[in-house]
Symmetry: C2
Subunit: 324 residues, 2 copies
């Protein structure tokens, strides 16, 4: 790491200050970070690359929102395994002419979310970017050995649930793309400051409620397909049970809101299955839990009405359609 970059990292180190996680024995400043894994636990590791004009746009997203979102992606992956996030590693490539104010804002957004989840920024790298802001974030978490919830494990007859609401992030993005009006980041937190469902994921894991779980980062249609593929099952999704009130507030037409809920990405909600006779709370850690479908033996994934009459197949289209 060249000298000026070390200064940047050293600067970050100072900002980090109070944010410590007791599992981090050594943070920024040596060749590696040192992490202590709690006895009887295993480690979880996830990595997400966020690129300007692919995952965010500087003219749409305040710097704080970009920092928040870059970390939220990894925290959501840890949540989807039922784990506890411990440390984050940030690789950041910045264009030469980027104002320091923007960098400060990015770090504020990143570290505020980290602090709320007790996650220590324990390392990373910096470089000069030839084009746009590039951020790669790794998050390390822990979970009691052998208890993590994977994508495999869903069985025919299981009920499919989702936390929170779907489609509001993509609905906001569509509004941004339409450029019809100025968007308040604070009033559209689902998109600008999505909250990874870490506590809900931990609860679903600890109480052995979830048999299979994934986070809805690419869009419901894509992520339900992943879960089903790994589990060797199919699903019927009840179109009118999808929690999408907020998407309907943002988008003018119900049909558009439904498309956002089905295919829009970056919801960072948890999608999980539980046995039909497992008691699943209506709310976990303040977040609504909604049954939205049934796991089937047939490997098809279809959309149905509330009487389980098939409306049509649910194609895995995902958030490519909603990209910045």
């Amino acid at each position: 790491m060249p000298l000026p970059e070390r200064k940047l990292i050293a600067g970050i180190n100072r900002i980090v200050g109070g944010v410590r996680n007791k599992s981090v024995l050594l943070g920024i400043g040596d060749d590696c970070a040192r992490l202590q894994v709690p006895s009887g636990h295993e480690m979880l590791v996830t990595t997400d690359f966020s690129l300007e004009n692919v995952h965010f746009r500087r003219k749409w997203h305040p710097a704080e929102s970009v920092g928040h979102r870059c970390l939220a992606r990894g925290l959501s992956d840890i949540a989807a395994m039922g784990g506890t996030p411990v440390a984050a590693f940030l690789s950041l490539a910045l264009p030469k002419d980027l104002p320091q104010l923007w960098v400060d804002g990015f770090m504020r957004g990143f570290l505020k979310l980290a602090r709320r989840h007790g996650v220590q920024l324990a390392g990373g790298d910096t470089a000069q970017s030839p084009n746009g802001v590039l951020a790669d974030v790794s998050v390390v978490g822990s979970v009691p050995r052998g208890t993590s919830v994977m994508r495999v494990g869903a069985r025919p007859g299981d009920i499919l649930y989702v936390t929170g609401e779907l489609g509001a992030s993509a609905a906001t993005l569509q509004t941004l793309m339409g450029n019809a009006k100025k968007i308040s980041a604070q009033r559209h937190k689902e998109h600008f400051y999505p909250e990874p469902r870490v506590k809900a994921g931990q609860y679903l894991c600890e109480k052995k409620i979830a048999r299979a779980m994934i986070d809805v980062s690419d869009g419901l249609s894509v992520d339900v397909a992943h879960l089903c593929e790994e589990s060797g099952v199919g699903a019927m999704i009840l179109a009118d049970r999808l929690p999408m009130e907020r998407a309907m507030e943002i988008l003018p037409h119900e049909k558009a809101a439904l498309q956002a809920a089905l295919h829009g990405g970056e919801d960072y909600e948890l999608l999980f299955t539980a046995r039909v006779n497992t008691r699943v709370p209506n709310r976990i850690a303040g977040v609504a839990i909604t049954p939205i479908g049934i796991i089937t033996k047939s490997k098809k994934i279809s959309l149905t009405d509330s009487m389980l009459r098939t409306i049509g197949p649910l194609e895995a289209r995902g958030w490519e359609h909603f990209k910045c």
Copy 2:
């Protein structure tokens, strides 16, 4: 991760095939990788961002070399703590028009080095890059609890040692920049295929030989300054003891070779200190070990002749001067 990217990762997963590490309970394919930490061990984590035209150039570096070098950086950091690398995570952003052959070559270079060190590619992310190839690599390793060698720990009177040779990588880079002749990657492995000193690092750690250690990635002058700063000491470097035969073969003038050895980066050798009465082997794991200086109480870092007469201060200039 959008669908086409998942296909790329799935493709990588197939390539990876036989490369398994028993500490990786679950690799690519779920929300997180799951790692088992050997009992009584702690984890090491390091991250390095490699950008086209900053860390490599496609016209100079074959794809295999780029893949190799991206991983070598992280393995070298694990080596510098005395650890054993376990798993790697690769975030790769690729320009739209990049030939598949290049990607295959990159992965071959990456995975060949990984295989040699028993490192499993356990996760990552892919994206489309707006400009150039961007690769961020995290490496996770393990080390018996509390035994890792850090930058802090050098004491006045310690002898300063280096593995292998210095300056050959920067010397090759200078030749590439001069564009005088075609360079054979196979005949300039120090630059194109540097070998991280993992076994030497483990030995120095296990045998409790090294008191403080760092890898020479930024250049000797910068890295010795880091080690001294962390340890609160200074150093005298014996200019004519620097192992730089290979740099002298590559560069026409001794002075240029010395500059490369002092300030050129990407040697990926280990720089460590040991007590004066510790027996340090001449070779470890096939690599020469050379004493190159003495740690001093005075915090200055100076260059001396073989009679310890000061030639001048050693300024931390580092490999910024040698950048692609």
